[in-house]
Assembly symmetry: C2
Homo-oligomer: 346 residues x 2
Amino acid sequence: MSRQAPTLEDVAREAGVSRATVSRVINGVRNVDPAIQETVRLAISRTGYAPNQAARSLVTRRTETVALVVSGAGGVSDEEQNAFATRVLADPFFGRVVSGVVGHLRPRSMHPVLMFAETVEAREAVVTYLRQGSADGALVVSTHADDPLPALLAGAGLPAVLFARPSRPVALSYVDLAHRDGGRLAAEHLLGRGCRRIVTVSGPLAVSASQERLAGFRDTMARRGHAYVPLVQGGFTVDSGMAAMTELLAEHPDVDGVFAANDLMAQGICQVLRERGRRVPDDVAVVGFDDSSAALACRPPLTTVRQPVEDMAAAMARLLDEQIRGVRTEPTSIIFDPELVVRASA
Amino acid sequence: MSRQAPTLEDVAREAGVSRATVSRVINGVRNVDPAIQETVRLAISRTGYAPNQAARSLVTRRTETVALVVSGAGGVSDEEQNAFATRVLADPFFGRVVSGVVGHLRPRSMHPVLMFAETVEAREAVVTYLRQGSADGALVVSTHADDPLPALLAGAGLPAVLFARPSRPVALSYVDLAHRDGGRLAAEHLLGRGCRRIVTVSGPLAVSASQERLAGFRDTMARRGHAYVPLVQGGFTVDSGMAAMTELLAEHPDVDGVFAANDLMAQGICQVLRERGRRVPDDVAVVGFDDSSAALACRPPLTTVRQPVEDMAAAMARLLDEQIRGVRTEPTSIIFDPELVVRASA
DNA sequence: GTGAAAGCGCTAACAT
DNA sequence: ATGTTAGCGCTTTCAC
């Protein structure tokens, strides 16, 4: 192995100054003679010094690490735990979250620890992890409306920010999308292009985002005289989109417009439509939601309601960062506006 | 805020014992009277004590954290960094890696820090992170053959394990697949079902896995008398698969079998074939590689060469774990065998 | 502007 | 089996 790593002491000796001075130089504290700064910097590179993060954390009470938690609800079996991670990461949505989070953290030399909290034990582990000071706070992305983790975190007084408003009120900051407006945009677009037999495939109604998108959509439809919009509930996956469309097609063969609550399902829907010989968008127009990579991968490319996930995730990281630094003390919410992106499918 | 967190000292006082005894109970060191253990445990829960990880790490020189690094090669621009994370996570392959890694780490109360190293600075950041003792070691998944990170890590004497054999020899452990055997399995299957006009879409030839899969495939074809197999290079994405198949179809309209170097491309290939009115597998048989979620999502479901990614990732984590604990000192390689999974596409 | 010294909370070697 | 004690390497008053 390599010999013992150099410490502040070593650098100080090498530079002929005290530990305190070296520490000041490293941490960019002013009031250090420029000449000495140079000497110290030289000594640092000569010794190949790297500050010990544990020692630093012990006194600063900060780790520059945050937990990025993907949280479910149920009491899932051990078997399914792996599946949970795989499933979550397979969704292009999550990649955008990570991207946005890292975009904020990296320039600040902060790092995300990936955690999955789909069981009672796993949730406890998250709380323990934070209570031990292994991370300074948590960014929580819930996949289920009645996720108990936010309340657990809030109860323990741990810094945390949520992606999406919690279903039960909890004293935590969050970022969210104006999902209702998104549903409205979709409805207006379909109606605007002349669709009259419109159906919709919602997300799991246990997820509040699904409900909101649906509510906004239905609301707008109702205002335009469409009292009834056939609905099938999907699961935010390609497969569930296919199944839903198959079902809808059987009951409503004259459909000419579909609103899917996310792009993955819209992709499945387009696939089924094509298999049944319906042209998209000529016979049936399809509008998705998210503007994820699936929207571009889809044939035809999806017209969709864009959710600025990267920006939202970055804002989430910023909120947590501010809370950790004590800059922000009150729970804050930031709501982003959706935007219609018109491509070929509608 | 909440009041100062309780320390070992507080628990010790509460239990009427010394700090050392409490420490022993917490760390499960034997030689502690069962009765006292009980007293201590009670004091712990009464005080709501959680050990301070920084203090612990300072003395144990271990963080119970490993860096999970996705590493590229180039000097990518800042703009593209976000895209890198998004792109990487969009690939179902990565979700399986995470799943396997977490599967090993979690039961050991270890945690992965997610890092992306697609620029010179980012790679430096990884090295610094490890040198500071913020993580005990690194699990590296390279997306490019001439990734400089492994050499950097090895040079710094930092514990690290790679997914896939490095292109230049480096003194690090790695896990890998017998890609050549995988290519062979694909060729044998296509030939076995009677295909005679076989083409192939490889991955980026800068990636050694691509080369190996191709070599095994070509080798087997050659042994069976097929001297020439038309080849188009793809990029492991659905789109690149579509483009490649379009090209191949133009030059070889009589094609009756395709070997794609991954499932994503196979998916694109199936899509193009269907659009051109070719039935899969009746007119053209398609074999993919990986057995990722894309294989099941594909229509028809893909016959594919399974790569046990979760197992490989778990093994990678285990190797690193052993290296960190000092159980293993020599670089070790573990090569997994591919397996043909027959579904509908071939 | 710089140094001396006091901890941060824990583990582990040693003493008992 | 339990207690005492010496650090781990750093930041941060507090003097100067």
